[in-house]
C-alpha cells in the first residue's frame, strides 16, 4: 500500500537517501533498520511530509504523496522525543488531532478518553505531560496518534528513550497494539534486536540505500551481504573461493568437536582446524573463541543443554558447517580478508 | 517561491526590524558622537566641523586626567569591595540545599531591579550629617560629632558597591556552584590548610566568575553619573559628571564626546584583559 520508488534526497553535498525503492504492505509491521546516518529517519520523515524527495515517487494506496502537506496526509507519527504539548493536559494532547479535524469538543474529548483507556492511562487524563514517566509519555504519544485512526503509523526510534527493562515489555506491547489496531506500522530503529523481535519485514539500510529486505528469519539466516550479516548478529566470515565473496556462518551454527573426535562431525561442507583460545560461560550457552590454523579466528556458541562435554582453552579442535548453514555473501566492495574473522552486531 | 528565497525572506522579516532599529538608533548615534571628538565646539554651542585633535590634547591636561584617574580608582574600589562582600555571599548561597538557592538568589537580585536613583537617594538619607546613621550613632553615644559620610569618595564607593553588588554575586554564584567539593577535599588531603586550599585551588577555579563579576561592576561604575552626582554632591567628579556638564551646561559636545571615547577605550581595555585571562585559563586547563 505504500510505494516508495527510486526516491532520492540530498542535503547539501550529502546524499541521505539514494535511489531507494520499497513496498510496504497493508497491516504490516515494517522496520527500517540501520546505523545512524543510513537514511532511515529521512525516509520516515518523507513519508510523514516533513521532507520532500528530490526525485522519485511516494504513494499511499495509489495516490501520490509528493507535495502533500503533513496535515493532509492520512499517516501519523510518533516522535522520538514524544513531542507532547507541555501546556496542555494529557487528555487535550490526545484530543488535539481530533479537534484539528473539526470534531466537536465533547466528542473529541470522549474519544480521547477512550484512547487513553486503551493504553491504560485513563487516570492521567487531567495531568500535564511533565508529571508522567517516560513510558507513560510514550503511551500518550501513541494514543494521540492512533486516536485519529490513520492508515499508517510511523514510529521514530520508539524505544530508544526507555529503560532497558521497559524496552522488552514495550516491544511486545507495540506488536500487540499493531495487531489490535490493525494498521500498518513503520518503525525506524538502529537496534537489530528490536527489529527482529517486532517486525514482519525489515529493510536494512546503509549509506542511503537498501542492503536487503525480508522477514527477520530470512535476513538473519540468509543475509545477502556482509553488512547485513554483521549488523543483525555475530557472524563468522570465511573467505570463499571466489573474488569478493565470503561465507557467513552464525556462531550457533558452527559445529565444534575435539580434533580427536573429528569423525563425529559428518555431512559438513567445509572444516577448519584450530585451538580454543577463550571460553565464556553465558548461562544459556558457552561461547568459544577459536584460533584457526593458518590464521584467523572463529566463534562458536554451544547451548548449555547440548554442551555435554564442555571444552577448555588450549584444546585442539575442528570446526565446520553444514552446507545449509554456510551462506555466501557479497563483501559489498570491502576487501575480503585473507583469513577468517568474526564480526559482532 | 522556492525554498531558499523563502528562507531568506523569513530571516529578513525576523532579524530586519531590530537590526534596522539598532543601525539607526544605536550604531549611527554612537558613531556620530564618537566622531564629534575630532571636531570643534561652535561659538553658541553646537558643532563646527573643523577637523582637529585639540580635544585629545585637552584631555591630556592633568585636570581631566585626574578626573579620569579618579573614576578608574573609584570604580576599582567599588569593584574590590563588591568582590569582598559578594564572594562569601555567593559561596553561602551555592552551598545551601538546592531548593533554597533560587529563593536566596532572587532575594539578592531583587533590589537591583528597582530604581538606582531611588536607592541612591535613600543613602543620602542614611549618610547625611543629620541622617539615620549619624543620628543612631550619636544617640547610642558612640560618637559626639556627626561623621562626614556624605559628599565624599567614601559615599560614592559605597553607592556604587551597593548599586551593583547583585551583578557581582550572580556570576560568582554560577562559578562556585560548578565546583565539585571533591577538589577541596583533595586539596586538604594533600596537606593544604583551609585558607591555603581556598587560595590555591578553589579561588583560581572560580576565576572566570570573578572576572565576569568584576566587569559587571566596574563598567557601569566607571561611566556612572547618578551616584557621584547625588552622593558626591558636586565636589567629587567622575567622568560621567564631566560629560553631563559638557553636554548640558558648557555645551561643548565635541569635548564631551572625547570624554565618552575615553570611557569606551577604558572599557575595551578591561574587556580585553578579561578575554586574555580567560584564554590563558583555558590553555592552562588543557595543559
Amino acid at each position: 500500500m505504500i510505494e516508495i520508488q527510486n526516491v532520492t534526497k540530498r542535503f547539501g553535498g550529502v546524499t541521505a537517501v539514494d535511489d531507494v525503492s520499497l513496498t510496504i504492505a497493508e497491516n504490516e509491521f515494517f522496520a527500517l533498520l540501520g546505523p545512524s546516518g543510513c537514511g532511515k529517519t529521512t525516509l520516515l520523515r518523507m513519508l510523514a511530509g516533513f521532507e520532500e524527495p528530490d526525485s522519485g515517487v511516494l504513494s499511499l494506496d495509489g495516490s501520490d504523496l509528493i507535495g502533500v502537506k503533513p496535515y493532509k496526509r492520512p499517516l501519523n507519527m510518533m516522535f522520538q522525543s514524544y513531542a507532547l504539548f507541555p501546556h496542555m493536559s494529557v487528555l487535550d494532547n490526545v484530543a488535539y488531532g481530533l479537534k484539528m479535524e473539526g470534531v466537536k469538543k465533547a466528542e473529541a474529548r470522549s474519544r480521547a478518553a477512550e484512547a487513553l483507556e486503551q493504553v491504560q492511562l485513563g487516570h492521567t487524563a487531567s495531568r500535564r505531560p511533565a508529571q508522567l514517566s517516560g513510558g507513560q509519555r510514550q503511551r500518550v504519544a501513541l494514543a494521540r496518534a492512533l486516536v485519529k485512526r490513520p492508515r499508517v503509523l510511523l514510529l521514530d526510534e520508539p524505544l530508544s528513550a526507555l529503560d532497558r527493562q521497559i524496552r522488552g515489555e514495550m516491544q511486545i506491547e507495540l506488536k500487540r497494539l499493531q495487531h489490535q489496531v490493525g494498521i500498518t506500522f513503520v518503525v525506524v530503529t538502529h537496534d537489530q534486536e528490536e527489529a527482529l523481535t517486532m517486525a514482519d519485514r525489515i529493510a536494512v539500510l546503509r549509506d542511503g540505500h537498501v542492503e536487503q529486505v525480508g522477514a527477520p528469519d530470512e535476513l538473519y539466516e540468509r543475509p545477502a551481504t556482509r553488512f547485513v550479516a554483521g549488523f543483525l548478529g555475530d557472524a563468522n566470515l570465511f573467505p570463499a573461493g571466489t573474488q569478493g565473496e565470503e561465507i557467513v556462518v552464525r556462531p550457533e551454527r558452527l559445529r565444534l568437536a575435539l580434533a580427536a573426535d573429528a569423525s563425529s562431525l559428518v555431512g559438513l561442507a567445509d572444516t577448519r582446524s584450530g585451538r580454543i583460545a577463550e571460553v565464556a560461560y553465558l548461562g544459556t550457552a558457552r561461547k568459544y573463541v577459536i584460533d584457526l590454523k593458518g590464521g584467523g579466528t572463529a566463534q562458536a556458541r554451544v547451548a548449555s543443554v547440548d554442551d555435554t562435554r564442555p571444552l577448555t582453552a588450549g584444546d585442539e579442535v575442528v570446526v565446520g558447517w553444514a552446507p545449509a548453514d554456510g551462506v555466501v555473501v557479497d563483501a559489498g566492495g570491502a576487501p575480503v580478508p585473507a583469513v577468517a574473522e568474526t564480526v559482532h552486531a | 517561491m522556492n525554498g531558499s528565497t523563502r528562507l531568506r525572506l523569513r530571516r529578513g522579516a525576523l532579524l530586519g526590524p531590530a537590526l534596522v532599529w539598532w543601525t539607526a538608533l544605536l550604531a549611527a548615534p554612537v558613531l556620530l558622537v564618537l566622531a564629534y571628538s575630532v571636531f570643534q565646539r561652535g561659538v553658541y554651542g553646537g558643532v563646527v566641523y573643523d577637523f582637529s585633535l585639540d580635544n585629545f590634547d585637552r584631555i591630556a591636561d592633568s585636570l581631566y586626567l585626574d578626573v579620569l584617574w579618579f573614576s578608574v580608582r573609584v570604580a576599582g574600589e567599588a569593584t574590590l569591595v563588591a568582590l569582598l562582600i559578594g564572594y562569601p555571599a555567593a559561596w553561602f548561597i551555592a552551598t545551601r540545599p538546592e531548593r533554597w538557592r533560587t529563593i536566596l538568589l532572587v532575594l539578592v537580585v531583587l533590589p537591583f531591579w528597582t530604581s538606582l536613583l531611588i536607592r541612591t537617594y535613600s543613602w543620602m538619607v542614611l549618610l547625611n550629617d543629620e541622617g539615620l546613621i549619624n543620628n543612631g550613632l550619636q544617640s547610642l553615644g558612640i560618637i559626639d560629632e556627626p561623621l562626614s559620610l556624605l559628599y565624599n569618595e567614601f559615599a560614592i564607593v559605597l553607592g556604587l558597591t551597593y548599586g551593583y553588588l547583585p551583578l557581582m554575586i550572580l556570576p560568582l554564584y554560577a562559578a562556585i556552584e560548578r565546583l565539585s567539593p571533591e577538589l577541596r577535599e583533595a586539596a586538604s588531603d594533600l596537606g593544604a590548610s583551609g585558607w591555603r586550599a581556598f587560595l590555591t585551588v578553589t579561588f583560581p577555579l572560580t576565576r572566570a566568575g570573578v572576572t565576569a563579576g568584576c566587569i559587571f561592576v566596574f563598567v557601569p561604575s566607571l561611566g556612572n553619573f547618578l551616584v557621584p552626582d547625588l552622593l558626591g554632591g558636586g565636589r567629587e567628579q567622575m567622568v560621567g559628571n564631566l560629560i553631563q556638564t559638557q553636554f548640558l551646561k558648557a555645551r561643548d559636545w565635541p569635548f564631551g564626546a572625547t570624554l565618552a571615547l575615553a570611557i569606551i577605550a577604558l572599557m575595551t581595555i578591561v574587556l580585553l584583559i578579561q578575554a586574555w585571562i580567560n584564554a590563558r585559563d583555558r590553555t592552562r586547563e588543557v595543559a
Binding site: A83 | L14, I118, R119, Y121, P181
Partner: protein
C-alpha cells in the same frame, strides 16, 4: 565543609549582606509613613504623604508621562525583540549577531544618552525642526528594551522542542493553527516576562531620559530634581511606590521566565 564556626560566620555574613541590600529600601518605606517627614525623629504613623503625592501636580504629571513612555517603549521592544529572538534562535546561527544583540545591554548608559542626544539634535532638530520630548525618550528606551526582551524570549525558545511543531502539523493543524495552539502558548510566558522587564527598566530609567527628554519630564527626572534641589517628604512616598511597583513586576517576570533559570 569548613567547620561549624566557619559556616556560622558565613551565615551571619550573608544575613548582614542581605540587610545591607535591603536597608535603604526599608528606610524609605518607613520614612514614607513617618509624619514628621524627617529621618531624625519619628512623628507617628501617617499616610498623609501619599495623599500629598496625589496632589502634587508635577509628580502626577511626570508619573503619567513615565507610564506613556514605558508603555510605548515596551510595545516596540516586545515586537522587535520577539522577532529578533526567533531570528537568532531559529533562523540563523551567528555569534557575531549574538554579540551585537548584547551591545545595548553593556554600553554605558551615559554614552548611549549623549549619542542619542547628538543624533536627535542633528537629524530631528536641525533637519526636521522637531523638538525633543517623550517620543525621543521612547525611542531611547526601546533601543535597550529590544535587547532585554530578545535575550529573555531566546532563553524560552531554547527549551522549545521543535518536534512539537512537527507533531502539530502531523496531527492535522496547518502552519497558522500550529503557531496559535502550540508555539504561542509555549513562548507567551517568555514574552510577558520580557515585557515586564522592559517596562520596569523604562519606568526607572533616568540617565537617557534626563539627556533626551527636552522639556518633558519623566518621573525619575522629577524625583531627581526634587532630590537635588529641594527634598520634600512626599519623595519618600513616591520612592516607596516606585520600588513597590518595580518589585512586584520583577517577581512576576521571574516567575514567568521559567523554572531552571538562575540568571538575570
Amino acid at each position: 565543609m569548613r567547620g561549624r564556626v566557619g559556616g556560622k560566620v558565613l551565615g551571619v555574613g550573608f544575613a548582614a549582606t542581605l540587610a545591607f541590600l535591603y536597608l535603604p529600601i526599608l528606610v524609605l518605606v518607613v520614612l514614607s509613613f513617618n509624619a514628621s517627614g524627617l529621618p531624625t525623629s519619628w512623628g507617628g504613623f501617617t499616610t498623609g504623604w501619599y495623599s500629598e503625592l496625589l496632589n502634587n501636580d508635577g509628580l502626577t504629571k511626570a508619573f503619567l508621562n513615565t507610564l506613556i513612555v514605558a508603555f510605548w517603549a515596551t510595545l516596540i521592544s516586545v515586537v522587535l525583540g520577539t522577532l529578533l529572538a526567533f531570528g537568532l534562535e531559529k533562523a540563523v546561527k551567528s555569534t557575531g549577531l549574538d554579540a551585537v544583540s548584547y551591545i545595548p545591554m553593556i554600553i554605558p548608559d551615559i554614552v548611549l544618552a549623549i549619542a542619542l542626544l547628538s543624533f536627535y539634535n542633528l537629524v530631528f532638530t536641525q533637519w526636521l525642526g522637531l523638538s525633543l520630548g517623550l517620543w525621543s525618550v521612547i525611542l531611547g528606551h526601546a533601543t535597550f528594551g529590544i535587547a532585554f526582551v530578545a535575550i529573555i524570549v531566546r532563553t524560552r525558545l531554547r527549551h522549545f522542542d521543535d518536534s512539537m511543531v512537527e507533531a502539530s502539523l502531523d496531527l492535522g493543524a496547518n502552519e497558522l493553527r500550529t503557531f496559535r495552539h502550540v508555539t504561542l502558548p509555549a513562548i507567551t510566558p517568555g514574552i510577558v516576562a520580557g515585557a515586564l522587564v522592559a517596562f520596569t527598566l523604562s519606568l526607572d530609567e533616568f540617565v537617557i531620559a534626563f539627556f533626551t527628554a527636552g522639556t518633558s519630564v519623566t518621573f525619575p527626572i522629577q524625583v531627581y530634581s526634587m532630590v537635588r534641589f529641594g527634598v520634600t517628604p512626599e519623595i519618600n512616598a513616591a520612592a516607596t511606590l516606585v520600588v513597590g511597583v518595580s518589585l512586584v513586576l520583577t517577581v512576576l517576570a521571574l516567575r514567568l521566565r521559567g523554572r531552571s533559570e538562575t540568571t538575570l
